[in-house]
């Protein structure tokens, strides 16, 4: 199987290429403007692997939540690449990507939370079993204090950059990550491969962001 994975939802952008078990991975950290780097990197890894785009089985991408512009750049890129090479696409949650990376450290319950700016976090809860994750909640944007882990918050591990962004404001009882973690195309690749194996591949039009924060227009009565 051949899968290309692209993520640009946060200040960390990354690309992973899986060719029958062989992995190439590229990553960079920069504030915004991932488009040029991502496209150049896609070109570079495919060339280095001597794998034409059309030889891929699908494109997996981080569909969010995350930076609105970053999500759109990735979605537009995946639409263009997939349409042009007649490939299917696999949208993957960026919160699931965080949880997947954490799940590889051991079973248990996981809260993935990303800084959503404006005093809020994107978050979701997962259960990890033998390296695989299952979502326990939907994806939400809320103030950090409103993060609720399902029943009896024992043994929950946190992952993401929300704890760094809002120190002391997320619920007690969730083990804070040692360092801020960000979604990576490595985990995206793992989740994408599972979907590819299950035949869950969509047409290029399905390469769309999931913003989670859908209230983007301030009402004219409000100020600030």
């Amino acid at each position: 199987m051949r899968l290309l994975a692209i993520d640009g939802a946060t200040e960390q952008a990354s690309v992973a290429l899986w060719i029958d078990g062989a992995v190439m991975y590229r990553e960079r950290s920069a504030p915004g403007g991932h488009g040029d780097w991502l496209l150049a990197t896609v070109h570079e890894v495919l060339a280095q692997a001597e794998c034409p785009l059309t030889a891929l089985d699908a494109l997996a991408f981080g569909r969010g939540p995350g930076s609105f512009t970053g999500l759109r750049v990735v979605a537009a890129m995946v639409q263009g690449l997939a349409f042009g090479a007649d490939l299917g696409v696999i949208p993957v949650s960026d919160l699931a990507m965080l949880a997947q990376a954490e799940a590889e450290r051991g079973d248990g319950a996981i809260v993935a939370a990303l800084d959503a700016r404006m005093g809020e976090v994107y978050w979701s809860a997962f259960q990890a079993e033998q390296g695989a994750i299952r979502a326990l909640t939907g994806e939400t944007v809320s103030p950090p204090e409103a993060v609720r882990v399902p029943v009896g918050a024992h043994g929950w591990r946190g992952t993401g950059n929300a704890w760094l962004a809002y120190p002391g404001r997320l619920p007690d009882g969730v083990l804070q990550p040692g360092a801020a973690t960000l979604p990576s195309a490595r985990s995206l690749m793992v989740l994408g491969l599972a979907q590819l194996q299950a035949g869950k591949v969509s047409p290029p039009e399905a390469a769309l962001p999931v913003y989670v924060r859908d209230q983007v227009v301030r009402s004219s009565q409000k100020t600030g």
Binding site: G35, L39, V42, A76, L81, P204
Partner: protein, 344 residues
């Protein structure tokens, strides 16, 4: 050479296929007017969100309509600016990625160069050189055009663009968004001589425009008239007509001066306000009196469209231009160079 053109600089998603030998093969547009109407203006985040939903379906439709197989497309062009950066990024990223997948060249195009070249989409197109009046919601420019990419800026608005003034006056008269076309329609029923508004910048030499004061004059006139009687349909129509008369008079007079100053014998008019009926009539009349030929694209190519981007891209790709990478909110038109000489 056959070019796929993509426009996403503001509130229209537009796609077209232009063929150097056969002309325009197909074009399609998705307007976001209804999306922004409740907010009384373009909301950039909503615009970007809509572009990424609508672009690929439009590309499919246009390729189908053109009967153009992907292999027949020789290059791609996208609007690189000026415009809303988030909106531009959608079209630019999609075009560059599709170009990579198809292994075709791709070039970023100046939105106003697209507008300027729109008259060349028509069967009866002018020869160079020409004077170009570009009037839209974002720009009011007078440009001496020696050829594609050879532009000398003669004048521009020092405050509001003409189309912006139309929209703002429409808003203060209580017309629904987008106000410009509604204002023009209302003006049709108004008396031309009830309100005489100032003709800004006509009392001094030069080719720059200013529309902000005119808008304020309408506001004061509306307030004054309202003190005596309610702002009824008659009054609003008369105010609209008075405003339109003044705006059109200024645009026509500046064109007359620019023609006299440059000695150019052809005038092209493009941009959304170029679809205004009264402006067209005034410029045609002026042209006839001076022996100057006036050229307009059809109204659908006055407003934002993909055909003009495909055409501008065609000229640049044909000359071997590639790239132009990053999108930009601002991009002076006179910084452009002729095709093949552009350094980005």
């Amino acid at each position: 050479m056959r070019v796929l053109g993509i426009e996403s600089s503001c509130d229209e998603t537009a796609v077209a296929v232009y063929d150097g030998a056969q002309g325009l093969l197909a074009h399609a547009l998705h307007s976001q007017v209804a999306l922004h109407a409740p907010h009384g203006g373009v909301v950039p985040e909503l615009a970007s969100r809509d572009h990424v939903r609508k672009l690929l379906p439009l590309v499919r439709d246009v390729l189908n309509e053109a009967g153009a197989a992907p292999e027949s497309i020789d290059g791609l062009a996208y609007t690189a600016g000026p415009g809303l950066v988030g909106a531009l990024l959608v079209g630019a990223t999609f075009a560059q990625s599709l170009a990579l997948a198809w292994n075709r060249p791709c070039v970023g195009v100046h939105h106003m160069e697209g507008h300027l070249l729109a008259p060349w989409l028509e069967p009866h197109a002018p020869d160079f050189p020409v004077l170009a009046l570009l009037v839209s919601g974002g720009h009011t420019l007078l440009v001496a055009v020696e050829g594609v990419g050879d532009y000398r800026l003669l004048g521009e608005s020092i405050d509001d663009a003409a189309g912006e003034a139309f929209d703002k006056v429409a808003k203060l008269l209580g017309l629904p968004y987008p106000g410009g076309p509604a204002l023009a329609a209302l003006a049709e029923t108004g008396a031309p001589d009830r309100f005489h508004f100032p003709r800004p910048m006509l009392d001094r030499p030069g080719l720059d425009f200013s529309f902000s004061g005119l808008k304020t004059a309408v506001l004061y006139a509306a307030r004054e008239a309202q003190a005596e009687a309610p702002l009824d349909d008659r009054l609003r129509a008369d105010l609209a007509r008075g405003f339109e008369e003044a705006a059109v008079a200024v645009l026509a007079e500046k064109c007359r001066r620019a023609l006299a100053q440059t000695g150019l014998r052809r005038l092209v008019v493009a941009g959304g306000v170029g679809a205004n009926r009264r402006l067209r009539a005034a410029l045609l009349q002026m042209g006839a009196s001076l022996g100057v030929e006036v050229f307009y694209p059809r109204p659908a190519f006055c407003t934002d469209n993909g055909a003009m981007i495909a055409l501008a891209g065609y000229h640049r790709l044909q000359a071997g231009e590639r790239g132009a990478g990053t999108v930009r909110a601002r991009w002076p038109i006179d910084s452009l160079r002729p095709p093949g000489q552009q350094t980005g």
